[in-house]
């Protein structure tokens, strides 16, 4: 009887401890953002991309199976200046007609400590693909306050990249001291799972 009692308790504890959500997540674009900032002479120009999508498989208890596949449509760039945005879409920078999307596909996810993780993967911008390691914070999972059956996960990341390494610009504006080469990227994601 005692053994049955302890087994029941153990089963109950294990049941509570293991996640009751599946590891597959679909980005909620309405509550996610892809932002960037870059130096212009002295000031900082802020911008965002409004068209992006991502699919994530993430389980902190099963990082080997975790993966991220994130795509941003270059033509959706918005720096609050229509002339600048069109210039960014042109061959001088993104050549959006020829290279419509930027993509990051992960190959491995590791745990750094606490809520911080590191995703390694291939970043492809224009015709350049480069291995990158991007730290991110996993905020956890909660049932949506609006719909209890809908699980919501949160991720945040900040990283920088060298736009010239990806051929976004030929270096002329950088040498003139007009546009910096280091782009600070900030991505905040709310993802929906079942």
């Amino acid at each position: 009887m005692k053994r049955l009692f302890y087994i029941s308790i153990a089963a109950l504890v294990l049941g509570v401890a293991s996640p009751s959500w599946a590891a597959e997540w679909k980005m909620d674009p309405l509550h996610s953002a892809v932002q960037f900032e870059i130096k212009h002479i002295f000031s900082t120009v802020f911008g965002r991309f409004s068209d992006f999508d991502g699919a994530m498989v993430f389980d902190p208890d099963n990082l080997e199976k975790s993966r991220f596949d994130f795509t941003v449509q270059v033509a959706s760039v918005d720096t609050d200046n229509t002339k600048r945005d069109n210039h960014l879409r042109s061959k001088d920078f993104f050549a959006a007609d020829e290279f419509p999307a930027m993509r990051f596909v992960s190959s491995a996810v590791t745990h750094k400590g606490g809520d911080t993780y590191l995703v390694r993967g291939t970043m492809t911008i224009k015709e350049t693909s480069t291995e990158m390691e991007i730290p991110f914070v996993f905020h956890g999972v909660t049932p949506s306050p609006f719909k209890k059956s809908q699980m919501v996960a949160g991720f945040d990341t900040e990283f920088s990249l060298d736009r010239l390494a990806f051929g976004v610009g030929n270096g002329k504006f950088y040498k003139m001291g007009v546009v910096g080469k280091t782009v600070q990227v900030r991505i905040s994601v709310e993802a929906l799972g079942s």
């Binding site: 229509t82 002339k83 069109n86 210039h87 879409r89 042109s90 007609d97 002329k172 504006f173």
Partner: protein, 208 residues
Amino acid sequence: MSGDTPSSAVKKTVLAVAALVFLGLWTATPFVYESQSLYYKFGVDKALLHWGKASGMAVAGLMVFQVVLMSRFAWMDRLLGVKFLFRVHQFIGIAVALLVILHPLLVLWADGFTFFPLEVRYWPEFLGSFTLAAALALVGASLARNRLGIPYKFWQVSHRVSAPLVIAMALIHGGTVSGTFDHAVPLAGLCLLGGLAAALIVRRRLKR
């Protein structure tokens, strides 16, 4: 100019020179009052954008000049003759049609034909596209009125109604799309041109 008195020949010359000087100065405005978008262009792209802007300025200037020509000032009718004024009006109409095609061609070429997206914030560019179509329709209908079977009275009324609208759209497009008009002098010039065109059109309406 045979049959002209010396004074009328001088007056015609002065008028022609004044018109050319005004149009020349107005067209050259983007070279003097550069927009910031020109800072980011070099070589051929910069030249394309410069001349694209200049052709746009020429379109606006010539459109207002058309209103001056058709204002039927008695002294102008006497000096130049109504037939001549109408011939010049037609000639400038064709010039406007050619320049109104050249303008976006050069501007877009400077950006490697990167077309602006279908977003509301690009409304000045969309207004320009609409103005282009309207201007070409205005000139096309005038040139091919007989071939198109458009009755004269209908064409006359629609031409008189649509021309001021096309001019207004062109001036608003220019004023909102180009950084040249961030400078006070070109902006004042644009407002003066718009005011002049409006005043002459109203004057003509009231005289009929």
